[in-house]
């Protein structure tokens, strides 16, 4: 036991010494990491480091895992031309597997360990919901969230560092609703909704216009692949026009299930779920090759807010060029175009922020000036002191093969009872600069 005594005594004296050494007494004035001009975390004279969370693995990976390759390709393209104000753009991509718990961990890593300047295009409603408060608390610019939920932009006072990007689901529903009311006034409308914001906000927008035409609404829970009951219910209701606010997998599943049940309504899918290439591939996978993917969505309608692959647009020409020069394996897809469009907006924001880049500066510049910048977006952004919601409108389009044909002009509106009007700005008509680098003035 004497050995134990010795050990105990040793431990006690060590602890006493350590404690004495640490009794730190009074507090000094804390010295923050900010310089007087603002927070320059992640920015050096030659680089800007940004991060994003994306589902590279897991259920949401098909399609979405390509977005970051588009962002990266455009960043490389900019870097090749010398960067923005002499700074090269670096993107750190973290996989969260579309699991909010993981999102929280990887964003911790990006912000606390990798010290990124900003989070760019973090993907997903449930996933980004987990980090939006953290990013605002840490005062990290949370730019162009890849989701159409309203949380990102409807309360800039509560979340001043967060900006939405794509049109929210409510205005998409409104624009679809008005089109149905004007063009298919006798249609019996069925709703096929994902049981979250996507379905809920979409339905809210639709009901503003076609409440009396809706004969049935069904919901599915994401992850449950048996949607037979829902489609049967739609069929039984006699709905001949079904509006789907769903993800790409459920576009394929709804097509497959309808085929099995001999149900053939006209479909309108949300932009989120309507990529004909991905839906076709998924359809062919789910049916184990029995249904050929190509042209699977022919005749279905959707909405558009940026020009996609195969369309006649100088922007698509630019994306083709960027992908050819800087892209990796595979061909240009609409998901890569999506990533490039976000990267272009970010590059514009850096350009407009000027040489003295800080976190405060870029957020201020986006809020005040982004609605004036030319870009691939068909309608202008809604950013202002009162709203950080993204693109203000879209147009209806019909799917043929892997391409879409516009059915309407670009229509703009806002959440709530704001009117739908034709876009009077010429944002959609502006072609990109010849060198493909954003050409915006530094904001005074």
């Amino acid at each position: 036991m004497s050995r134990n005594h010795l050990r105990a005594a040793l431990a006690a004296s060590t602890a006493a010494v350590v404690l004495a050494g640490c009794g730190a007494g009074g507090r000094d004035a804390s010295s923050g990491g900010d310089s007087e001009g603002g927070d320059t975390t992640g920015v050096t004279d030659t680089t800007i480091s940004v991060g994003t969370h994306q589902p590279l693995t897991g259920v949401a990976a098909p399609g979405y895992s390509e977005i970051n390759t588009g962002m990266k390709a455009y960043f490389d393209y900019v870097n090749e031309a010398g960067g923005i104000h002499g700074r090269k753009l670096e993107l750190t991509v973290k996989d969260d597997g579309y699991n909010p718990t993981n999102t929280s961990k990887v964003v911790d890593e990006l912000v606390l360990k990798d010290n990124v300047f900003a989070i760019l295009g973090g993907l997903g409603t449930p996933t980004h919901t987990a980090v939006v408060d953290f990013l605002n608390k840490e005062e990290v610019p949370d730019l162009f969230v890849s989701s159409g939920a309203q949380l990102w932009g409807n309360d800039p006072e509560a979340r001043p560092w967060t900006f939405g990007w794509q049109p929210d689901y409510e205005i998409e529903g409104k624009i679809m609703g008005q089109w149905i009311k004007e063009n298919k006034p006798n249609a019996k409308v069925g709703l096929f909704l994902q049981g979250d914001e996507l379905g809920g906000d979409g339905e809210k927008g639709l009901r503003q216009y076609v409440d009396d035409q809706i004969v049935e609404r069904v919901e599915y829970a994401s992850g449950n692949t048996d949607i037979g009951p829902q489609i049967s219910k739609l069929k039984a209701s006699g709905a001949d026009l079904v509006v789907g606010f769903n993800t790409p997998s459920y576009t394929a599943l709804s097509q497959l299930t309808s085929m099995k049940l001999g149900y053939d309504p006209t479909w309108i899918y949300t932009n989120v779920g309507s990529d004909p290439k991905l839906a076709g591939e998924l359809l062919s996978t789910f049916s184990k090759g029995k249904v050929k993917g190509g042209g699977a969505l022919d005749g279905a309608m959707t909405t558009e807010y940026i020009p996609g692959v195969g369309e006649e647009s100088p922007w698509v020409d630019l994306w083709e060029k960027v992908w050819k020069e800087q892209g990796g394996k595979g061909e240009l897809t609409n998901y890569r175009v999506y990533g490039m469009s976000q990267a272009y907006l970010f590059a514009s924001a850096l350009q407009a922020s000027g040489k003295d880049l800080t976190r405060e500066r870029i957020v201020d510049v986006i809020e005040k000036d982004a609605k004036n910048w030319p870009g691939p977006n068909l309608a202008p952004f809604r950013y202002s002191a009162d709203s950080h919601l993204g693109i203000s409108g879209m147009r209806m389009a019909e799917i043929k093969g892997l391409k879409t044909t516009p059915l309407t002009d670009v229509l703009v509106t806002d959440i709530g009872d704001a009117e739908i009007t034709k876009d009077e700005t010429d944002v959609a008509a502006v072609a990109p600069p010849k060198d493909g680098l954003p050409d915006v003035e530094v904001l005074k």
């Binding site: 036991m1 730190a24 590279l56 693995t57 979250d196």
Partner: protein
């Protein structure tokens, strides 16, 4: 002094206090990011420790501990909705109580079942609980779940820690300190419990139910108590997880979480608490490490993301093949054999099987 050192319970208590004090200093030295990793390891280890006791000491296989974590997490999240506030201790105690109650109901059902049937029943739980959160969207937030505001550091504790360490306590440091404190306390209680009469009964039930019954042990009650203790650990872990990850969402509590816990237990060694801690640390740190190593070796982001589950899978296969009793379960007896080479191997293993916990 001699009495303190010779009483195992007091000795463990003192060791736990020493460990707590040391961890306060160690956590203070880490960066914010490392602190958040420490919290993640701690909450996973608490749940894995509870599961390890259930499987290793009582012989009940639960595939539903992720669901108990969800219950703990949602309890905390609900108590913090709409700007409501509550002290952390209250939140965690509530998470433990609510989960223990649900655990009691499940345990009563599970106690009638044996072996694979317990696993089946708890598997159903793991699948059903996240679905409930999606179904009751208004109350439980649906797919995006409920956001949890990270707790502020209480002023008195901030001052106390400042006196000790000389630095301001940030949120992540506070969470890491609380998580580690919970871990130490939980493991201390589990260890004491498993070394007590109750723990010996659990082992007796595991080894031979008939003999245990003949010895006067109430099988059902013993199983129920063990299940409740184990579920309560998972509830505490879930409550901490909600605060650390700042969200309680159904996709965070899928079957994968339950299987991850099981994997931590298998990697570390059934029935050993150290093993549960090592398993939890491995499962938390290895994927990040592998992914970053992959990127720095020049793999694309997608490839390095896919590398992590591959390496984790291979590691598990390797551990099961090379160290079937888990890392701690296999290495500790080996070390002991080295120290006392004359002891017969078979005797050592039977003893350690009973002793480790």
């Amino acid at each position: 002094m001699r009495r303190i050192v010779s009483s195992p319970m007091l000795r463990r208590g003192l060791a736990a206090i020493a460990l707590l004090i040391v961890s306060v200093f160690l956590i203070d030295m880490l960066s914010d990011y490392r602190q958040s990793q420490v919290s993640s390891v701690a909450y996973l280890a608490i749940a894995a420790g509870g599961l390890s006791v259930l499987i290793g000491l009582n012989g009940q296989l639960s595939l539903g501990h992720g669901a108990f974590m969800a219950i703990g997490a949602y309890t905390v999240a609900k108590m913090l909705q709409d700007g409501k506030e509550a002290p952390m201790l209250v939140l965690l105690v509530a998470a433990v109580i609510v989960t223990a109650l649900v655990g009691a109901i499940v345990a009563v059902a599970a106690a009638r079942l044996q072996g694979p049937y317990v696993a089946g029943a708890t598997l159903a739980l793991a699948v059903a609980v996240p679905a409930l959160a999606v179904h009751f969207r208004d109350a439980l937030g649906g797919e995006p779940g409920l956001r949890v505001s990270s707790p502020d550091v209480p002023t008195s504790i901030d001052d106390a820690l400042f006196f000790l360490t000389g630095t301001e306590t940030g949120t992540s440091q506070w969470l890491a300190t609380v998580s580690v404190a919970c871990l130490v306390v939980t493991f201390l209680l589990l260890r004491n419990l498993s070394q007590s009469r109750v723990g010996r009964q659990w082992r007796a039930v595991r080894d031979d139910p008939v003999a245990a019954q003949l010895a006067g042990i109430n099988l059902g009650r013993s199983r129920i108590v063990c299940f409740i203790v184990s579920a309560a650990c998972a509830g505490l872990a879930g409550g901490l997880m909600a605060m650390v990850t700042r969200v309680a969402a159904p996709s965070g509590f899928t079957l994968i979480l339950s299987l991850t816990l099981l994997m931590a237990v298998v990697l570390g060694g059934l029935g050993t608490l150290t093993g549960a801690l090592i398993g939890a640390a491995l499962l938390t740190l290895l994927p990040t490490y592998v992914t970053n190593a992959g990127s720095s070796l020049g793999l694309s982001d997608l490839q390095s993301a896919e590398l992590a589950p591959l390496v984790l899978g291979l590691t598990t296969i390797a551990v099961v093949l090379l160290a079937p009793a888990g890392l701690v379960g296999s290495i500790a007896p080996a070390l002991r054999r080295l120290r006392t080479p004359s002891t017969d191997t078979s005797v050592t293993t039977t003893i350690t099987r009973g002793e480790q916990s």
